[in-house]
């Protein structure tokens, strides 16, 4: 005999469906009302025409697009180079800070001081110090290129952040894992490489991607050293026309880069959560 839901259950389900329909209706209504009010308030504002002309001019969006896009190409190149170097440096710093050997004490100390200083210093200050201070020394092998010096500054600052993130990941791995690794006959560094780090990095992947997105936007700050990135290109266009639309173009381009990264982060997190639930690690 097939399953027959009870009368009570059918009633309960019907009530649930009604409630759900009702809340959908209310959500739609409230969205429409709030949307209408916002539209009326914004478009009805006395200065709306001027704001529209200043910020949403199709003419300036089109004319500034190629300049802003070529600026964005610089952002992208800086992001890729700095991103890779930051991950390597961050990992080294995290390894140094979580080491226990007495021989490595000075390295540990240096890594701690480095993290304290560069996590605290505003990026802009690091950029000015590295970008104008270093070449000011007059040492011939120090590069004078704004892009190289800017990337160095980004690496200095972000390695400190990323180092701390990875360290948190390493410390979150249960010490029993390390002991288990040793018990299996793995050496100290083999345990680190094959047991601890894979787990540590998996734990902090979303946080690392967060830093990557942040790095992507901060890559534009190197423009204070003279390089022309997307925002600076927009600023140049804006200064010529007194129209803010180029900034919006740059903003749209940045968002179009960030959204896929964010979605990717979400997807990765979800996947890990599901995997953990299946493994009973939740």
């Amino acid at each position: 005999m097939s399953y027959q839901p009870s009368e009570l259950r059918l009633q309960r389900e019907a009530a649930k469906r009604r409630a759900s329909r009702r809340s959908t209706l209310i959500a739609v209504l409230s969205t429409v009302i709030i949307g209408t009010v916002l539209t009326v308030v914004v478009t009805g504002a006395p200065g709306f025409k001027a704001v529209k002309q200043s910020f949403f001019s199709w003419h300036y969006a089109v004319s500034s697009f190629p300049h802003v896009l070529s600026g964005l190409w610089l952002n992208l190149r800086v992001l890729i180079v700095a991103g890779i170097v930051v991950l390597i440096f961050g990992l080294l710093i995290a390894l140094a800070r979580t080491s226990h050997s007495p021989v490595l004490y000075p390295v540990r100390l240096l890594a701690t001081i480095y993290t304290d200083i560069f996590r605290g210093l505003p990026l802009l200050l690091v950029l000015l110090l590295v970008g104008f201070g270093l070449p000011g020394l007059g040492i011939s092998w120090i590069p004078t290129s704004a892009v190289i010096l800017g990337t160095v500054s980004l690496v200095l600052t972000y390695s400190a952040y990323v180092g701390e993130v990875i360290r948190a990941g390493i410390e979150a791995v249960n010490p029993a894992q390390r002991m288990a690794g040793r018990a299996l006959g793995l050496g100290q560094s083999q345990t680190q490489r094959y047991v601890v780090l894979p787990q540590a990095l998996r734990k902090v992947t979303p946080a690392l991607l967060n830093d990557l997105i942040s790095l992507q936007k901060d890559s534009g700050l190197i423009s204070v050293l003279g390089a022309i990135d997307a925002i600076r290109a927009a600023q140049i266009e804006t200064a010529q026309s007194f129209n803010f639309t180029p900034y919006l173009v740059a903003g749209a381009l940045f968002v179009s880069l960030t959204i896929p990264l964010t979605r990717f982060t979400d997807w990765l997190t979800n996947k890990q959560d599901r995997a953990r639930v299946q493994q009973g690690q939740w």
Partner: protein
């Protein structure tokens, strides 16, 4: 410093509006300035950025009447019927000067070049200064001995953002490597000192100041001949401001009676000294 200044100004504003309340007489409008529809009735509010650079201003104090633009601002105010005591200064960064809508000043004076494109977003007075662009470098730079624009083809040049100087690099000099763009002339000068750029394009009066006062071994390579009347500094007003006509008339009067020329001679280095690069 700034606070005390604005506090005393607002006290002055209060006193001023009280006294003016009685004697207001439409026929004396041309001489008192009180009848002009200014931001604060009876006062003229003038904007400029902070820091305000020499030789356009002096010691970053627009209200001291020293420096070319400060002097011009007070001359325009006087022409409009506002004595120095009825002039208020506000800090107006570049973005607030170009933003849409009502602005926090009656007019802004900050080395802003007049272009037809910009005039779609703001009102300009007639020009109060014809400006030429010049190239500054140091004696040890590879372009120190350049004699023509062709000699600059391989130079790495810099300018500050939003300046006509940047357009001069791209449209007139056209060097092979991309120009560096800095937030301020100070940062650009620092880059020049470090040898990060070979030369820096500035407006001519600023170029004389940077080469003479800020760089130890600075020199002016030359200036670039402007197309006649093509680059003029103008006062910036809100788009469609009711004051634009009166302010322009005041500037015109100051040009006609020789005041602008005299002030330029007093505050700006003689600009004839730099060779014209072709």
């Amino acid at each position: 410093m700034k606070k005390t200044l604005s506090a005393s100004l607002s006290v002055a504003a209060l006193v001023g509006s009280l006294t003016l309340g009685f004697g207001a007489n439409p026929s004396s409008a041309a001489t008192s300035g009180a009848a002009l529809p200014t931001l604060t009735k009876g006062f003229l509010t003038i904007g400029t950025d902070n820091p305000a650079y020499t030789p356009w201003f002096d010691s970053n104090k627009p209200a001291n009447g020293k420096g070319f633009e400060s002097a011009v601002a007070y001359a325009v105010a006087k022409q409009l019927g506002f004595p120095a005591s009825k002039v208020k200064w506000v800090v107006a960064p570049f973005n607030t000067v170009i933003q849409p809508g009502k602005k926090a000043f009656d007019f802004d004076i900050n080395e802003v070049s007049i272009t037809p494109e910009r005039a779609k977003a703001v009102d300009f007075s007639t020009g109060y200064y014809d400006v030429a662009q010049a190239l500054v470098t140091t004696t040890k730079s590879k372009i120190a001995k350049a004699k023509s624009i062709a000699d600059l083809a391989n130079a790495k040049l810099g300018a500050s953002v939003g300046s006509t100087s940047y357009s001069t690099i791209n449209d007139v000099i056209k060097p092979k490597s991309k120009a560096s763009v800095f937030d301020t002339n100070d940062l650009a000068t620092a880059a020049l000192k470090n040898g990060q750029i070979d030369g820096l394009v500035l407006d001519l009066p600023t170029a004389f100041y940077v080469a003479g006062a800020e760089l130890t071994n600075g020199l002016i390579v030359g200036q670039f001949a402007p197309k006649a009347g093509s680059d003029q500094f103008g006062l910036v007003l809100t788009k469609g401001s009711t004051l634009t006509k009166s302010v322009s008339a005041a500037v015109d009067a100051l040009r006609a009676n020789g005041t602008l020329k005299a002030l330029a001679a007093k505050w700006l280095a003689s600009v004839g000294g730099a060779p014209v690069l072709k």
